[in-house]
Symmetry: none
């Protein structure tokens, strides 16, 4: 399993990850058992380079990080090529480079002679191998190129193999192939190159991204490239969130992810949260609706013979059966999360019922805890009477004022809290109201909790939940914070956007204080 | 092509059509060349029966309407069965009935003897044929049943054929089959029953709905059941919006829809509109993003050799190429929009350069005018000195206050404007700050512009543009407003969320006044 969510996935409209997001996702992929994580194209932008710098410090148990790039330029040697140099500088165990297969592209797009293109492939692979890298060669437009000229397409792969490539990944770059066509061509490559592993890299332009990938495996490919949630350019890359359960549960091939299959839904939602995209309810296996039964007949039969209307057991991918009407959504995955956070929760105790009811009410009111572990922890502390209050909140006031047409608005936030019974009443200013609240809270608590200096607000996301209600709409705010060691999410929800932001800020600060307390213990 | 959007499609969460919606869709399907339109299950609800009554009056040129139902009950003859009677009463040329294939369902769900199930199938088909109907037999759970007992599965089809069925449609009801498996079984059926046509009815639970349908065609099926936009229970039915272009453009089979393929995107959007669901930008072939190019290399190459990065010509399915590279691409589309709005703009005049520079600056600062025609119109008015100011803005102040932990926050907005030189200074209250600003502005202007009563704020969206900057992030607010006649969008952007909202509200109100002015002229 070769994931390129962090590189090809970010080509999708609206998908973008910060360096911290990428690091968090890489850690999750490692836990999930993804074999290769393509982290970015270090030559293309400084953010990707920063990721590779930071990634060196990650302590991954299973996954190998891959840097992505292209073959050398036409008029340089591999040693002179600055882009190949950045690939080495990225310091990853694996480098994936793409080269041209399709003669049309060779002569019309990059405009070099066919033989020069072969030399570019061979030289580049050999250069990377000489620096001790595992090299995956991505044959761009392989299938279209093969249809055009099977001889030349095979020559490009031969060049990569001569250079020492460890894997030949065949790309259906335009996503236009049909399954039978892709299988036939993949088979020809597998038979021609028994000495190297073959991979497939598919897109979903014909609605066949998953089928093409599985077809490739049937034809002998042993590496599958794709993205989580199918993120990617145009209609997206082959969706690993669907491919992995199909291979693990239906085709019966051994995968490292099989042991962690129960986290599939959670991981899919986590990545959607960080991308600030809505999770697709209709996603196969992991969507909220994937095992939802509506209509009397099905729902009844489902009760009678559970598997009679379900293609797999939903719990195997961390999902669950839902029968519309009663809505108990997400509950049990939250209980699992609570156990992860160290809460000893008995599913059947009356205390648990109280927690479930409270979570249900909060979710109904717009909260969402999948990526807000900070808020969930604080909430569970409160519900189980383990909460140690560090400050008492008394009140806040936010003023946004614009005195004339051409003036910039100013924001002022006043906060009243008690720390150890002692009142603090402070005020702070900022261009925006949320920034002002954040500042004021830090001023109020700064003396008592000097470590708050190390708290950084990394990310601020707003989602209008029922936008058709106009300005009365319910608003959810997700904030991501960090200190030197940890990264956590907090959530707020209200029909007042300032209040929703306040809740998320307050939780972020309280969670930081809790962490410091724990360190002292 | 057998469409069941109007029946199986409505099993999808959030999908529901009125009788009028269904009639309008049926007419569009007819124009598009769909062969069979499954309109509903007349026995299951009065709305479906009303549709069949009205559908008799439709003057369809090509499509045949099908009524859907089940085989007779176990303890009645076909003639006595009320549900079969409603199928005849529906008065459609085609009736589709489903029966059980899977022994598990026969014995555990409907609880009859296997032989009785065979008699139910045969009797029901014969009864419908005796009333002159074309009969399609839907073999529910065919593939799962076949895997369980190939003999019994074949016996159910034999019963349908003895009854006189015109078509055997094999259903992968749970959507769990892999392509190769489905193909093998479909082939066995096609070979066994050379005298009747065979169809496939697939679902997308494994992300393979399209691939399974195409696989069925490869195996000899000549009828494909599916829904537009893939609507349907759980993750949806096989998506005809994807299947049709694949068969027409790639597999090369003749379809009646082929002549109308250019309407695919339009029809897909029409159905989404009537279902009141957002059209999926990432839908293969028909989504807004399906032929969108991002990233320098691809976009450049696309210019050079258009088909080098496109699997089909987008215009064939009524879609178009979109390039998201330089902000200049958006620029020329904005100029086009300006011309639509009635501005006579010469691309090369110095005045146009001023406008382009201003738009460029505003987009850099987070504004976006694609869906904010109201704000664009006001801006162009201002830049071309055509703007007639209806009120002068002097200042605002918004206060959000929460007095204690358990109290709800209140919001108060103060606004100072001049109308015809006369100052108005008003205040209003609301749960949220944006609602309070909206109210205050209406109070301030209400006397002078009584038509503002008819202005409704329909939609309020917030996007954090650089969320990684934390609370300092730039925020874009899009508001959609309407009166009885028109719908328009306005935009605001600022690093202060209140200010961004204010700008969008102010433009919404000003645009409404402008519309009323025009009416008076």
């Amino acid at each position: 399993m070769y994931d390129t969510t962090l590189r090809d996935g970010t080509q999708g409209e609206g998908v973008s990850f910060s360096v911290t997001d990428k690091l968090r996702i890489a850690e999750k992929f490692d836990q999930f058992g993804i074999d290769y994580i393509e982290g970015g194209w270090p030559g293309s932008n400084p953010r990707d380079m920063a990721f590779f710098e930071e990634a060196k410090k990650l302590n991954l148990k299973h996954s190998k990080i891959a840097a992505f790039g292209s073959t050398r330029r036409a008029n340089l040697t591999a040693e002179e090529d600055p882009q190949l140099k950045t690939l080495i500088d990225a310091g990853t165990p694996v480098v994936t480079i793409f080269g041209k297969t399709w003669l049309l592209h060779v002569t019309e797009v990059i405009r070099v002679k066919p033989e020069e293109n072969l030399a570019m492939i061979e030289d580049s692979v050999r250069f990377l191998k000489s620096h001790g890298r595992e090299v995956i060669y991505d044959a761009e437009h392989f299938y279209d190129g093969y249809v055009d000229s099977p001889e030349y397409a095979m020559q490009t792969l031969e060049a990569a193999v001569r250079g020492g490539a460890d894997n030949l990944s065949l790309c259906d770059t335009n996503g236009g192939k049909l399954v039978s066509e892709l299988q036939e061509i993949t088979k020809a490559v597998v038979e021609r190159f028994p000495e190297v592993s073959v991979g497939v890299h598919c897109h979903n332009d014909s609605g066949l991204g998953v089928a093409l990938s599985l077809g490739g495996v049937d034809a002998g490919a042993t590496l599958v490239q794709g993205t989580f949630n199918g993120y990617g350019e145009r209609v997206g890359n082959a969706n690993l969130t669907t491919i992995i359960p199909n291979i693990a549960l239906k085709m019966g091939y051994p995968l490292n992810c099989t042991d962690h299959l129960k986290s599939t839904r959670e991981l899919s939602m986590f990545i959607a949260d960080l991308a600030n995209l809505e999770h697709d309810n209709k996603a196969p296996f992991v969507g909220l609706s994937a095992f939802t039964h509506k209509g009397g007949a099905h729902a009844d039969a489902t009760k009678k013979v559970s598997y009679s209307y379900e293609h797999v057991d939903p719990t195997k991918v961390g999902n669950r059966q839902r029968v519309l009407v009663s809505d108990m959504a997400g509950r049990s995955s939250l209980l699992m999360k609570a156990q992860e956070l160290g809460f000893d929760i008995d599913r059947n105790s009356p205390e648990t019922k109280v927690i479930i009811d409270k979570l249900k009410e909060l979710e109904y009111n717009g909260y969402e805890f999948e990526s807000a572990d900070g808020s969930l922890r604080l909430l569970l502390d409160r519900l189980t009477n383990k909460h140690k209050s560090h400050f008492e909140f008394e009140g806040y006031r936010v003023i946004v004022e614009k005195r004339s047409k051409d003036e910039k608005p100013v924001s002022e936030a006043t906060i009243k809290v008690k720390v150890d019974g002692e009142p603090r009443y402070v005020v702070a200013e900022d261009p925006g109201p949320v920034g002002a609240l954040d500042k004021a809270l830090r001023v109020a608590l700064g003396d008592a909790f000097p470590n708050l200096k190390k708290l950084a607000l990394k990310d601020y996301k707003v989602r209008i939940l029922d936008s058709k209600e106009g300005a009365e709409a319910k608003t959810r705010v997700l904030i991501e914070s960090s200190d030197e060691h940890e990264l956590w999410g907090t959530v707020g929800a209200s029909n007042n956007i300032i209040e929703a932001s306040w809740q998320a800020i307050r939780d972020a600060v309280e969670y930081k204080i809790l962490l410091d307390d724990k360190d002292k213990e």
